[in-house]
């Protein structure tokens, strides 16, 4: 293992995977430094699950290479399986087994002896607040409990790299926050995490760095802050009292803004990216007041990751004449 491999826990180079004429992955590169969290962000069909399946040895790419913990995913899949934990997009729990039995089974299949597998299962159940439900068939578990049980299954053998495919999709807000806590704890213990998500907020909360993919290609990468700064300035948002006032408002915002304003007739909202927020705000209000436009609500904020995401994926889709 070279010094570089020690620092990079997951590395993928130029992964390509096609299904017929669909290019599920079209040259994906990524790296996760040891002990860090990478958020793989993308809309439906972006290629997140395909990437995860390749990294976890479930799928062979058409071309490209990947290493996990210094092991070649294609050449030494068994060795990779020993050091990773996977929690797939759909919780793979055996409904007819209890929570305890599910984890015990996984432990035994990792080669643990009965006593170790039993102790480890109980430990994880307690850690994931499943100890009360531990001896009930998991059929009766809620979505959040199943998800936690599935994640616990991924941790049975104390993997150095944990790969989570949309760990919070389908969870209610409380379940989501609980899952975030669990992931943060994992990272605090030094585990490397690669997680996929469709939620920018989630990537923002959890990930040290983010890779945005769409249609099998990486369209942006960096920290959350770096991505946000790709959209310069701030966003000025105005809500007016009647639809008739929208054209005049848009005209004013076009004047003070740094880009074309966007109009939403339904909510009577107009927004625009501005270079110097407060100055543009005062100017816009002055101009609108002069035209007797009644402003009901006004806001000025830094772009969110959502803005970045939409500008990245949206513009791309438009340029190809879809959408």
């Amino acid at each position: 293992m070279s010094e570089n491999d020690r620092q990079v826990a997951v590395r993928a180079r130029d992964l390509v995977k096609t299904y017929g004429s669909t290019r599920a992955l079209d040259g994906v590169d990524l790296e996760v430094p040891s002990g860090k969290v990478l958020g793989l962000l993308g809309p439906n069909g972006a290629g997140k699950t395909t990437t995860v399946r390749i990294l976890t040895t479930l799928l062979k790419p058409d071309s490209g290479e990947a290493w996990v913990a210094g092991r070649d995913v294609l050449a030494e899949p068994d060795s990779v399986r020993r050091v990773i934990g996977l929690s797939g997009q759909y919780a793979a729990v055996d409904e007819n087994l209890t929570g305890f039995e599910n984890l015990y089974m996984v432990g035994r299949l990792y080669g643990q002896n009965k006593a170790t597998a039993r102790a480890r299962a109980r430990e994880l159940l307690a850690r994931f607040q499943l100890d009360e439900a531990a001896d009930r068939p998991s059929k009766g578990y809620s979505g959040g409990m199943r998800r936690r049980l599935d994640l616990a299954g991924a941790l049975v053998a104390e993997p150095t790299v944990v790969i989570l495919d949309e760990p919070t999709t389908g969870l209610d807000p409380r379940g989501r926050i609980e899952m975030w806590e669990v992931i943060k704890e994992l990272v605090a213990d030094g585990t490397t995490v690669l997680l996929t998500t469709q939620y920018l907020e989630e990537a923002d909360q959890l990930a040290d760095s983010i890779v945005v993919i769409d249609k099998g290609r990486v369209i942006a990468r960096g920290t959350a802050d770096e991505l946000k700064s790709q959209i310069s300035g701030e966003r000025l948002e105005l809500v007016v009292s009647t639809v008739d006032e929208l054209p005049a408002t848009a005209k004013v915002l076009a004047e003070v803004g740094a880009a074309e304003p966007a109009i939403d007739e339904h909510t009577r909202r107009v927004d625009v990216i501005v270079d110097t927020g407060p100055k543009a705000l005062v100017e816009a209000l002055r101009l609108l007041d002069a035209q007797n436009v009644v402003v009901q609500d006004v806001a000025l904020h830094r772009p969110t990751l959502d803005d970045v995401f939409l500008s990245l994926t949206g513009s791309r889709a438009e340029s190809e004449g879809e959408q």
Binding site: R6, R108, Y110
Partner: protein, 288 residues
Amino acid sequence: MTATIQAKPASTEHISTRARVAKVFTDSGVVTWRNVMNVRRNPEWLLGATAFPIMFVLMFAYVFGGAIGGPGGDSSQYREFLIAGIFAQTVAFNSSYTVIGFASDLQKGIIDRFRSLPMSRLAVILGRTTADQVLSVVVLVVMSACGLLIGWRIRGSFLDAVLGYLMILLFAFAMSWIGAYIGLIARSVEVANSAGLIWMFPLTFVSSAFVPQESLPGVLGPIADWNPFTAAVNATRDLFNNPSPAGWPEPSGWPAENAALYAILSCVAIIAIFAPLATAQYRRVASK
């Protein structure tokens, strides 16, 4: 982040062949346990697995038995003849649980979980076919009781009776490897459901299970003669010492005269063909 990164030892990097073989067996044991637990949590399974054969017993013994079983409407000899066929048919139909089990594990992502673990591939299938044998034993107990109720008796020695049951179980084991293969090719549980059952009907009816094989018309006769199912039924019947009803033609030809040998050979051949097929399909199936 102030995390301390501990390099966790990659457990046992180089594994000897002996340890590998041992792992196949422990993994198979774990998977068998899991599959048996699955059935134990769904006891209605036993009802499904035995309702059909019990219905067959009643239909053949009392509805058709009078017509098939010989003159005077006395079907007692026929009922005795019938049971070995019913046993073999019951365990053959049981293999559809293998088919459905695999298809549903694939659909629910359980197979993905298994494939992401450092476990033996063969064990996933072996664990399923072995669990099926546990189920076959349970079903055979129920069906034996049913047979005893309608007057069937084991007339041979104790040892022969044990061998008779083992014959049925070997046949069941062979069938579940075919089931494993079908389950892994099936694209959904629904497809598996019909694909697992449909071939059972020609397999079990073009045979000596319910009628004298000599009575089957045209090409069906030789097909029945060489059907491994016929051989398993005939061998078991011999071991239980349950004769054909009086006046029936004795089956002749090499497979009939060497029923036990032929049955064992064909079961071994089926396993030798379908075990590698199923293992290869397992490797292929989830890596799509």
